[in-house]
Amino acid sequence: MLLNQFLILSAVLFCIGVYGVLARRNAVLVLMSIEMLLNAVNINLVAFSTRWGVSGQVFALFIIAVAAAEVGVGLAIVLLIYRNRTSIDLDELDEMKG
């Protein structure tokens, strides 16, 4: 059935996103990887909603709206870091340890 293929696509996207979050050191690329994770979820929800009805699509709409807010705040913090350090490399964020 067609549903399987969407779920596999979503799983692959999710794995790529997790790899990006763990491996990338550039803050903007990490935020993009997180977007990819959220879109994998959206594909899942919309695919399932072909079987169950509209609530999955409503969920996906909420995720799209909230993801925009999250990335807005995320980019604002990245900008703050860039202003104070002129670098957005996450490995350099190591002032606190222990």
Binding site: V41, N44, F59, E70, G74, A76, V78, M96, G98
Partner: protein
């Protein structure tokens, strides 16, 4: 025929708005209105309105408590939006905890924020919106509502953690918190999408009934694990705790208190809703999973807290260990649902009072020492005896010494895991007991420094405690003592919970 009437015919029956129970929603409406009012007053009054902000926020939070009380007095359960939003005794108690913690946070912030070069209107606005998310979370019985409440409480918290814009440590705190938080919510959402895919609904009640019937399946296992991992980040359970110490240390201290208390409790409230209203039927999965999370959190949190020299980092790791204590009853969630749920709620309420108190004393002492190092608080008894006594109350309460509140919290957890009568429950009881002893060592170490050690720089000028901060310390200390001396108060409230559905989910058929 006009265009509008054609459209009306095409779109079927006319739209009817749902009947809304405004009394049940009154706490949320009050919070929202006050948050918006603060923004308005701030943008109209500019500098002149700055001193009004904390008062407005504090009164707003106490104002939102009034409908919570009237709803509790009235006593009947209210179900809104087809079961997605439930106002019952459990959620009202949790709402009251959030509103009162928010009030104490406002008291802690008043002088801290006013004396630093910060933006006050926005600070209290974000704080109230974050609390609004928590109050919604207390009633949420639906995956979408839980998700929206989680984001509503998290997104303002990311901004609050990065509040000192020019400070590199605060930037770092905000960035780490945001990345971990957003990543965790993405993992949680993937789990929720699988749960939706299996059950076809986002409401927890039908999900619970379906999970109780179908038994185990790999998709359900994956979905439930992902959802629980997502919230483990929020409650900073090991191994998902790495953001907590750095974020608490870099953020302004009142915000650290907010994250350590209100935000952590909100994560637990979500776990309570999800597990006790949805996932209880999957007992073979959730009991071992939460057993591992609880055990790791207690041991790792306590052992790392032992060697901290900074009081905020010590409180952060002690918070990780406390999260472990709160997760312990979940390890017998399905064996004895009612007792374990009550134990978690009891612990949450008492934890809020004692941990906020500890942060309040740290904020007060740091006004003089200008440092978070534990050694800088040496000899505090000589120049600030009242603060030292208060700190000792909070520290020994966190350690669980009678007759302070923390004792009753630990006792409830202990009783719940033993009461379940399972092997895992007995093992968990031993782990809880061992960890209580380890924790006592580092809490007592701080108290010893404050009572016995010499003052490091010999400066004996007394600490100027502003009235709001003093009131916060008195309030939290009084509650900590009250819960310890009269544990029946809280017991009466938790006994009134209507938990008839638990048997149905835990033992189907």
């Amino acid at each position: 025929m006009t265009v509008l009437s054609v459209l009306a015919q095409l779109s079927g029956p006319p739209f009817e708005s749902l009947p809304i129970d405004w009394h049940a929603l009154a706490p949320e409406v009050v919070l929202l209105s006050v948050a918006v009012l603060i923004t308005l007053v701030d943008s109209i009054g500019l500098e002149r309105a700055r001193p009004l902000m904390p008062g407005l926020a504090g009164l707003g939070l106490l104002g939102a408590l009034i409908p919570v009380i009237t709803l509790a007095v009235e006593g009947s359960d209210r179900v809104l939006f087809g079961g997605a939003y439930v106002v019952d005794d459990l959620s009202l108690l949790l709402k009251a905890v959030f509103l009162l913690s928010g009030y104490v946070i406002v008291l802690l912030s008043t002088n801290y924020i006013a004396e630093g070069d910060y933006w006050e209107g926005e600070y209290y606005n974000l704080l109230l919106f974050s609390l609004l998310g928590m109050v919604v979370m207390a009633s949420a019985r639906d995956l979408i509502t839980i998700f929206v409440a989680l984001e509503l409480l998290s997104i303002p918290a990311y901004m609050l953690a990065a509040w000192r814009k020019g400070d590199r440590r605060s930037n770092e705190a905000g960035m780490k918190y945001l990345l971990m938080g957003v990543f965790a919510s993405a993992v949680m959402l993937y789990g929720m999408s699988l749960v939706y895919g299996v059950t076809g609904t986002t409401l927890l009640e039908p999900i619970g009934l379906i999970f109780a019937e179908v038994g185990t399946a790999s998709v359900i296992t994956l979905g439930v694990i992902f959802v629980i991992i997502g919230f483990s980040f929020k409650v900073s359970a090991v191994p998902f705790h790495t953001w907590a110490p750095d974020t608490y240390e870099g953020a302004p201290t009142p915000v650290a208190a907010f994250l350590a208390v209100a935000s952590k409790i909100a994560g637990f409230v979500a776990l309570i809703s999800l597990i006790y209203f949805g996932f209880l039927g999957q007992s073979d999965l959730i009991e071992p999973l939460l057993f591992i999370l609880a055990t790791l959190s207690m041991f790792v949190g306590n052992l790392i807290a032992l060697r901290q020299t900074n009081i905020i980092r010590m409180l952060a790791y002690s918070g990780v260990a406390q999260a472990g204590f709160m997760l312990a009853p979940f390890a017998v969630a399905a064996s004895d649902p009612e007792t374990s749920l009550k134990a978690v709620v009891t612990y949450l309420v008492i934890y809020a009072a004692m941990n906020l108190g500890a942060f309040a004393v740290v904020i007060a002492l740091a006004r003089k020492t200008r440092s978070g190092e534990i050694s800088s608080f040496g000899g505090a008894f000589q120049y600030a005896p009242a603060l030292t006594v208060a700190m000792s109350v909070f520290l020994f309460s966190l350690a669980g010494i009678p007759p302070l509140g923390g004792w009753f919290a630990k006792f409830s957890v202990f009783a719940a895991v033993v009461n379940a009568g399972t092997t895992a429950g007995y093992v968990m009881a031993v782990i809880v007991a061992v960890n209580s002893v380890i924790a006592l060592y580092y809490y007592a170490q701080v108290a010893k420094t404050m009572w016995m050690d010499p003052v490091p720089d010999g400066d004996m000028t007394p600490v100027g405690v502003p009235p709001s901060l003093g009131w916060a310390i008195v309030l939290t200390a009084a509650l900590t003592l009250l819960f310890g001396v009269l544990p029946g108060l809280l017991g009466d409230v938790t006994d009134s919970f209507d938990l008839g559905h638990l048997e149905l989910l835990a033992f189907p058929g």
